[in-house]
């Protein structure tokens, strides 16, 4: 009895050890590539939003993390990437969250020029209804491009609403909640960024190179 239990336990332990070892090895082999993929993905989005020629610093590395739940819609820290030309501030790319999407949080990246003009925005992660709300995704429609070169006058700027509410941006047929959430999140972020601009550029670099913008979602 005792011996068979000991034997079985030993066998299980050996299997667990070998499996762990193999996975550690694979993880070690792929870690760099995975980090590079995540960096590439983020860099591509950053390049789409902020013109390459307008800055000459390492945009991805010049990153700081900010805790601003009111403006950025998340209790956790959000990264901000800062573009500079010869040390002079050019633009900010801020990760922000629309907490009031139709199905959960919508994560966005918003780029704002030093002049206060919106350079553009992209949806990084969302769970909106396929076919309706997912038109906020640049792969589904070019709606998100309509924010490029827009300006926000104030937190109550009437243009920053969907057309149905008297604003300047289209809603989708069948989905108003999603675009409303995105518009409000971008507006909030831009107003906040323009108030804090100088302070944000002065913040020290606090992002770890290995923790790009996608925090692990909490899986059930």
């Amino acid at each position: 009895m005792m011996t068979s239990m000991r034997r079985n336990g030993l066998i299980l332990a050996v299997f667990a050890l070998v499996a762990t070892g193999l996975l550690m090895f694979t993880q070690h082999l792929t870690a760099d590539r995975i980090a590079a993929q995540q960096r590439n993905e983020l860099m591509r989005t950053l390049h789409e939003l902020i013109p390459d020629a307008s800055y000459n610093n390492d945009l991805y590395a010049d990153c700081t993390q900010v805790h601003a739940p009111e403006a950025l819609g998340s209790q956790s820290q959000q990264p901000i990437y800062r573009a500079r030309l010869h040390g002079q501030p050019v633009a900010l790319a801020i990760r922000t969250t629309a907490p009031d999407g139709y199905s959960g949080d919508i994560h966005l990246l918003v780029a704002i020029a030093n002049s206060g003009t919106v350079l553009g925005a992209r949806v990084l992660e969302h769970r909106e209804t396929p076919g309706l709300g997912d038109k906020i995704d640049v792969r589904r429609s070019d709606w998100i491009e309509s924010f490029a070169n827009e300006q926000v006058q104030s937190a109550t700027d009437p243009r920053w609403e969907v057309r149905r509410d008297g604003g300047a941006f289209d809603q989708f047929s069948g989905a108003t909640i999603t675009p409303r959430a995105v518009i409000n999140a971008i507006q909030r972020t831009v107003v906040w960024a323009n108030q804090q601009q100088a302070a944000l550029f002065a913040l020290p670099v606090t992002c770890q190179s290995n923790s790009p913008l996608q925090e692990e979602p909490a899986h059930e």
């Binding site: 499996a19 694979t26 995540q38 076919g131």
Partner: protein, 236 residues
């Protein structure tokens, strides 16, 4: 075992995996990922290939270690083996097909819970030599992947009017040209895109399979003479 016997057995395995005992259409296993990710052909193919890979890997490993694993602890050992392969595939997809990895999301780790995999480990791989277990994994995985892709194609055509949308996520940038625009919708047919559409499509596929099976049975029953002749030809 003679070559003839082996090839007959492999034929039986192939027929079982792809048709008679298809994991998705007959055993109805692994429905959660099956229904969730078949919105497009690309997603379906991605998950189908990942499942196939895990199934072959776990079948071979389980078969190779079957003589060292005591009966009492075989299930935990199978789970360790399967989980290892799933994590391996997940890491690889994360590293090499990043776009698809984000599109499939939680359903890659969930391959662990696909009962088709532990089912094959327990029912076949733990009792047969590794090359047969590998072939069994291959045909069962292919049967599962085939159903995924068919359902994905059905839903993508009806729901979006396209085929191979986002194929570049799986196959690299050259595949972006594979995308075919079949029908131009102003409003996509939501039912096909949403989960209920997956259930309906799955139901239709099972029904079609049953109709084909019944017709074949009736034909076989009607033509016994022909069948006897054929048996003589092959029995040499």
């Amino acid at each position: 075992m003679s070559d003839q016997e082996l090839s007959n057995e492999l034929k039986t395995l192939a027929r079982n995996g792809l048709w008679e005992n298809n994991p998705a259409l007959v055993q109805l296993l692994g429905l959660c990922p099956l229904l969730a990710v078949t919105g497009t052909v690309t997603n379906a193919l991605g998950l189908g290939l990942a499942t196939l890979l895990v199934l072959v890997g776990s079948n071979v490993t389980v078969s190779l270690v079957r003589n060292w694993v005591p009966n009492e602890v075989r299930i935990p050992v199978f789970v360790i083996v399967i989980a290892t392969f799933v994590t391996f595939v997940e890491l690889m997809m994360h590293a090499f097909t990043y776009g698809l990895f984000t599109a499939l999301g939680i359903f890659i780790p969930l391959i662990v819970t696909n009962c088709a995999i532990i089912g094959r480990a327990e029912a076949y791989a733990s009792k047969n030599p590794w090359h047969k277990a590998a072939f069994d994994g291959l045909t069962m995985g292919a049967g599962f992947a085939l159903v995924l892709v068919l359902l994905g194609a059905l839903r993508e055509i009806i729901g979006q009017g396209t085929l191979f949308d986002g194929a570049d996520l799986l196959l690299g940038s050259w595949a972006a040209g594979l995308r075919i625009e079949l029908i131009q919708f102003d409003y996509p047919l939501l039912l096909a895109v949403l989960p209920p559409g997956a259930f309906i499509g799955m139901g239709i596929m099972i029904a079609v399979k049953n109709v084909i099976d019944r017709q074949r049975n009736e034909k076989a029953a009607q033509a016994p003479v022909e069948k006897a002749q054929r048996a003589r030809v092959t029995s040499q």
